[in-house]
Amino acid sequence: MNSLHQRKERFSLFAWVAVAIFGSVFLFQRDLADWVTQYPEAWTLPAATWANIGMDWFVDHFRWLFRAISWLLTWPMDAILGLLTWLPWPTTISLFIGIAFVAGGWPLALFTLFALLYMVGIGYWTESMRTLALVAVSVPLSVLVGFGLGVSAWRSERANRLVQPLLDLMQTVPTFAYLIPILLLFGFGPVVGMIASAIYACPPMVRSTVLGLQRVPEETVESGIMSGASSGQLFWWVRFPSALPTILVGVNQSTMAALSMVIIAAIIGSSADIGWEVLSTMRRANFGESLLAGIVVALIAMLLDRITRGFAQDNQRSKRAFSLSPRLILGIAGATALSFLLLSLSVTELSEFPDQWVFYPAAQINAAILFFTVEFGAALDQIKNGFLFFFLLPLRIGLENTIRPFTWGFDLTLTMKISYLIACVSLSLLGGYRYGWRVAVAIGIATVLLYFGIERMPWPAMVALLVTLAWQAGGTRVGLFTLAGLAFMLVTGVWSLGVRSLYLCFAAVLVSFIIGGSLGIWASQSDRVSRLVRPINDTLQTMPLFVLLIPILMFFQVGEFTAFLAIIAYAIVPAIRYTEHGLRHVNNEVIEAAIASGCTPLQILWQVRLPLAIPEIMLGLNQTIMFGLAMLIIAALVGTQGLGQAVYVALGQANFGEGLVAGLGIAFIAMSADRIIQAVSAGKKRALGIK
């Protein structure tokens, strides 16, 4: 056993040494042949063209089917759209307040009132109702389909094996890439956005249905059988109600996904909803307008989230906790709504919110932003340049190319190069001496990457490095999967775009994880910080991604740095969450044992909580990467280079093949990262004996 372990260790070390030699050979022979630095075009396959040919054929033969579905779906959509835009605004508000009250009591009802008053008061009522109508049709659709798929995946192992990878793919292929085939098949119009969002919102529903049904305790099912339930009764009266809390969590997640896709689908236009308003004003750099519209989106997101979550939790609360019966409240709300409806027949202010009542301070906000950017422009530029020169550029093109009089104030001399080399080697040796050879290898790789830059690494070296990393961390299968993904990017000719995306995502995830992890540690130690951070996290997480771009865009304009910040703003959430959760939920007996052994609070944190929380923190890192990649796509709007931009451009040209190839590239990156980290986390859990 022990000797086997030793042999494995030696083999791993040998593998890394081989990678190091292999990598350095290519690194120092860069000038020898072109194919080392740049994957030759002659070696690529025209995958995008083939995909387009296939898609054209498919569209030619099956368009009628999809157009028919699209035509069918316009009916319910037009009905709801017509209803929501026709209803007088006070009527709609009354109904919403009634629902909100049942879901979450007074606080939520009050919040709903203010949120809807904002929408009507700012003059975005019709746009908001259009967005809501799209969500209102797509959510039931995806909930029904998701539930059906979930049940069949739970019923049959074969169906499950079919559905699971599909879900993985659906959740990792960038949202923009979805839109292209949908656009080609279903045509234009608001119904396309709705279909896209219904598809996008399916996976969480499927997952929670499967999970909920799997988690029904065996004894509960057996008690149902022993009561003499037939198989139908067993499902609908025992399994389904027991799984309902989990399934409702899925409904909540589906709703949020549907909303975010409805907003993103505005990019293909023609829906005249609030997402379009945000996007078009942002494109014209009218930040005041887009901020005001963005707040509407944020409010809708929070409303839908709180209401659906309220219903999900209500199911677990005792029903007697209500002082007023839901039926009574809904009755009152309905009556109020009806009386407003009748009143609106005579009072025109009620049927149509009068223009002169609208308060629209976009111009003032624009002036304020202008004042701020002029006044503090120098400081903002300094922040931006600081990050660019000392972090982003070295990562991308290496210290070797970054250090110039213009950036760092001096040129890189031979002495400096040699000192860097000596410093790196000694640091690596020191790390190896104290913490084992893996740390030495990690430091060695990091310093080499920093010197030459991720983008300038020869592709064979990069492939060898990443595949070895995946193989060492997750085993042969993960290694092969990563190899396949990288080969796909090379062969389809999107390698350099992929590396560019990898670099930006890596940089942002690194910063998110460091800052988020620190905040998470702090929040785990202080209840006050935790209380402060939680609502901010909730808000950031429910926010459709577009909206996050606006405030950053206002101050830093279009460019990679804005994208970098936007990714951090979104990806930091799971880093904080998982770290805090992991640290707080360490087995209490272990903590008590540590206290009893006389540990100081700091020793408990560093030597007990942190090591035990590592599997959970790793999952947080995983989520950070997934969130980062999701935002990377959206950030294409504010000017990035890489796969995200490629997908975005392909969407603009309705080029299915290009979008597919670039989108799959990102999906491969996401899935490889996911598999690597899950494997490491699972390994750590096993080593710690945590279930």
Partner: protein
Amino acid sequence: MSSDNPKLRCRGLWKVYGPNASHFFAQSHDKESRIKTIRDSSHIPAVCDVSFDVPEGEIFVIMGLSGSGKSTVIRCLSRLIEPESGTILLDGENLLEKSKDQMIEIRRRRVGMVFQHFGLLPHQTVLGNVAFPLKIQGLSISEQTNRAQQMIDLVGLNGREQSYPRELSGGQQQRVGIARSLASDPELWLLDEPFSALDPLIRRQMQDEFLRLQKLLNKTIVFITHDFLEALRLADRIAIMKDGAIVQIGTPAELVSNPANDYVAEFTRDVPKLKILTAGAVLSEVNPQKISAPLEGNPTIENTTTIDQFLPILIRSETLNVANNAGDYLGSISVLDVLKKLAEETIS
């Protein structure tokens, strides 16, 4: 108790886990060689050739440690798990030959089951949980409520009808489980470690409650436990299981005074002998020659009285007359006889 026609008869029951579980039963084998074949092909024999009878109205306790197969046996009795081989006769009908629909009907009317972790429906109130088997049978709401209310009163939960399971203590939750299992008045009552998840004090209380209910209802009972003392307290007869097979079946007194092997003896070692050994057991040690007529003036006790019960009387009069429940004189026992019996039990 007519053992020719027991309420429940289980014969040659086998349950094997593994991909080809059924194929070990194509040919006839004796038990030991079959177990060996099963183990050798890396299948798991969970229940091996288990046979027992339960007469009407008896509390039959199956006792075993975890992994002994006792829970599998009770699940085979109700066909929650399909055994590979054997017969299970309920009133002479083989349950293993019943169709799916017939089993549903049998579970609805004739068999009730209680679970270790209660198995309650989290979204239903106490009333809803107890009424659930009745609802499934399609009874009217008023019938459901009436019957469920009776059961709730029976287990002493009146006043908590509208509570949800999560609002109840473990003991109360198991009362709900018991009420539900009795709702459709089953003949056969299966209890799978019903009190194992409860605190010791509550467990004791629930055992008393269980005995009270049984006195009232007179069901035919199969009761699973891993607690030997619980088995002794509740059982009319006990079956001890180990590695999927029954090691010994007998009354509590038989097991304690006559363990079949070291494994059973290990359990009986810590048993408080005073509570198990009866006057009759002490008498069986006395030389029959010495038994003559009852001694005048000495108190008479029944042969089922345990030592701890008659000890105070014995201290006062040194010799006791023992009679059976019909009043026939069986013999006399002295302090010395009791001491001898205890010494023998403790040393062996």
